[in-house]
Symmetry: C2
Subunit: 457 residues, 2 copies
């Protein structure tokens, strides 16, 4: 597709700082499923450098795969050939503006560093997810990341005030000044958010900040079924409203795995578990008591309130260690799905028997963010520990996704489409939508150099 | 452009219920500046009917101008010819879902009716603006309406969970099931939000609901300058965080007008005034005391706290009657602008002298939503009471908008672009963005029948 001489030319064209040794952590994806085989790996240190690279690649029709922290789970940051454009060296915190409650950062800023910079300025940047120590803002935007606090603060899409983007032809579109109301023609920002690097390279973003929580109360509640959990969610939102920040669902099996792995006792015994957290941005010494009273009055006595920071950390460790603990079951077929909250129970009740009818000994680790209807629905075939399990991926996905669609859910909640789900896109978007997406892509990227083979079927 | 026979054919093609007498309230815009001259006015009562109309118009290349409550201020719902498609009869509240905190409504539902339906279900739909008694949800979405509560709840864009849209060719794109996380390909919902009827007809929407406020505290603070007001905003957000719901700025002159018109005494004397409101979704009998203490401790004694619902209503009446009261000054050249909050003071300080240098006796009524940086910046030439003032619109706009752009602001915050601002679009969007917008428009609407002449220059 591209001639080696071109890369010699590209090397001359660059100032040299961008060229990077291809290291395994850039080439292999987080799940060790895919390996990149780029012709060259570049780590630009400035927006101008990204523009120069794109201008050259556009002219010579060289494929470019943008990459952030390489924590994606759907293969969107894997380069088959061409340029692997890693943004990790473009990682400044550019500006914090307290009047506008905004922070402006480079795309390669690590999420945790952005959270810290905000905290140091007395503000909260609320996006919070397992990989926050290594995932980067550009990737969070490209896949519209979600995580633990969506219930209260929204997904990454809701947190972006403005974007700076380099288009495939190298031209710059920059809207980083914080404007809280602005409607001047079609909103293109939201086209780029969630486009997984297929329309251009995100180089910077202006993000919303919030008040830091000054009160936090954490509870663990055991419940007999998901219907009871949804009922609790509605009651608690009626009572505590926006103070409810997280509302996590954990199955008995998921808790058993995690409890064993973490060496932390199960807080209660039950079929289903809810880990919930209330926060308030002003001090409220009575919040914990009011939550205890609320649970007691509703007969929810199979529950535990964290009485110390250590107890809170233990409860959260039980939730956060589920992913690590399930590795003992071998390679999983993961599902990052979401449903209307009112339909989650019906889905779970129907999908497990459907899977078991096909694979009698299939194991299901079900947990997730019930407060926004999204589930991690991971499946394991005990006979097959290795990646050979992917042989059954299509069959398992079909059963799960058909059940998701029956309950008006989505096959991609917060991890993106990448390569592994793109053939499902025609099931969730109409032909007229797909045609429009292709038209947008063809207009911005006529030579199909931006992350080719990703997202669009 | 179109043959009269076509309309005879359209009449036969429809079931007859859709055809409406063209009444003045549909034909003349709110400011009595523009008058529609459509060939036919239609009020469909079902989504299928909208599809039928669009299929016919697409086939015969008949222009279609969608219209909601006809409260727009920029001429976007004015039909030069073809079909004026008024959505007001498509006005059902379709569903309220408490587990998902969502309400699904027809596009023609009046905003106030949606607020009421939500309140009856014990929830808040937070969009709140002057014309809420007659504006409709479809129009609110089409222009990405803002209003009084954006500071806390966002603009209409932030409140839409899903859209139902009829494309120019009559095909339906429907995503009304409430999904709080969903990233499946490019986000087209946000293309339609703010597109002012130029890409298709919005027929329904699924919207976010919130907890009803159970505590409300309202204060009026007099301040010497806007810098002090921005400082107060930052302090109060640091202290009361998301409880701050509205933070309105009013100039001395705007208050004098409104006070005279409303026959309500000015609460305090000052150059600039802030009307602020804190709400909490749980009962908090001490909130008012804490606000009083907060203001007292910071030396902000030139202020008033509403001690009763009547006093609160009076304070809000002073804010809400500004628009009506300024009619005594004649026809205004209005500016619906927004700036980074940190830049509002600099803009106001520079723009007034620039206007007065050109028009010595120009009068400026400046007020707006300082909490989100948006201003209503209305200008009057005392010698000219009638619409003849529009002769000077270009000169005045140039002075105001050049100053807005110098402070990184926007020329359109919450009213849209319509016809009156489209020639300014190239100043705020790059050529590559405008080209992409035109490509999207040409793809969806190849015959340019959807609200032709609006939005795009």
């Amino acid at each position: 597709m591209t001639h080696p001489d071109l890369y010699a030319q590209l090397r001359l064209f660059l100032d040299g700082n961008e060229i990077t040794e291809p290291s395994p952590d850039l080439l292999t994806d987080q799940r060790r499923r895919f390996t990149s085989s780029p012709d060259i790996v570049l780590q630009p240190r400035s927006v101008e450098s990204v523009q120069n690279i794109m201008r050259f690649c556009f002219k010579h029709k060289i494929p470019v795969t943008p990459q952030g922290g390489n924590t994606g789970l759907c293969g969107a940051a894997v380069a088959e050939n061409g340029v692997l454009l890693n943004l990790s060296k473009l990682n400044r915190i550019r500006e914090i503006n307290l009047a506008d409650n905004s922070i402006t950062v480079d795309a390669g800023a690590v999420l945790q560093n952005v959270q810290q910079a905000a905290a140091e300025a007395g503000r909260l940047f609320p996006l919070s997810l397992a990989s926050q120590g290594s995932c980067e803002i550009g990737g969070n935007i490209a896949c519209n990341a979600g995580g633990l606090n969506v219930l209260r603060y929204g997904t990454m899409r809701d947190l972006v005030l403005g974007l700076e983007t380099v288009l495939p032809d190298g031209s710059l579109v920059s809207h980083l000044h914080p404007l809280h109301k602005n409607t001047t023609g079609y909103d293109l920002r939201h086209l780029f958010i969630g486009s997984e690097g297929t329309l251009g390279v995100i180089t910077g973003a202006s993000l919303k900040l919030f008040a830091l929580p000054q009160t936090t109360t954490t509870a663990w509640v055991g419940l007999p079924d998901i219907e009871s959990a949804v009922k609790l969610l509605t009651l608690i939102q009626g009572h505590f409203a926006e103070r409810l920040c997280s509302f996590e669902l954990i199955s008995r099996f998921a808790l058993e795995l995690s409890s064993g792995f973490s060496n932390i006792q199960k807080p209660v015994e039950a079929e289903w578990h809810i880990l919930l957290e209330l926060t308030d941005s002003v001090p409220d010494p009575e919040l914990a008591d009011r939550l205890a009273e609320f649970l007691f009055e509703r007969g929810l006595e199979n529950s535990v309130l964290a009485q110390s920071e250590q107890e809170r950390n233990d409860l959260w460790a039980l939730r956060e260690n589920i992913s690590a603990s399930q590795r003992s079951l071998g390679t999983s077929i993961k599902h990052d799905i979401a449903l209307p909250i009112a339909r989650v129970a019906a889905f779970v009740r129907r999908c497990a028997p459907a899977l078991k009818a096909r694979f009698a000994d299939i194991e299901i680790v079900c947990f997730g963010h019930l407060g926004d209807g999204s589930l991690h629905y991971n499946t394991f075939l005990p006979e097959i520990m290795s990646n050979d399990v992917y042989e059954y991926e299509d069959i398992i996905n079909t059963i799960v996704y058909e059940n998701v669609l029956q309950d008006n859910g989505t096959i991609a909640a917060e991890h993106g489409i990448g390569t592994i789900k793109k053939h499902w896109l025609p099931r969730v978007r109409t032909e007229s939508e797909l045609t429009l997406m292709r038209a947008v892509k063809a207009h911005l990227d006529p030579y199909n150099i931006m992350n080719p083979g990703k997202l669009l079927p």
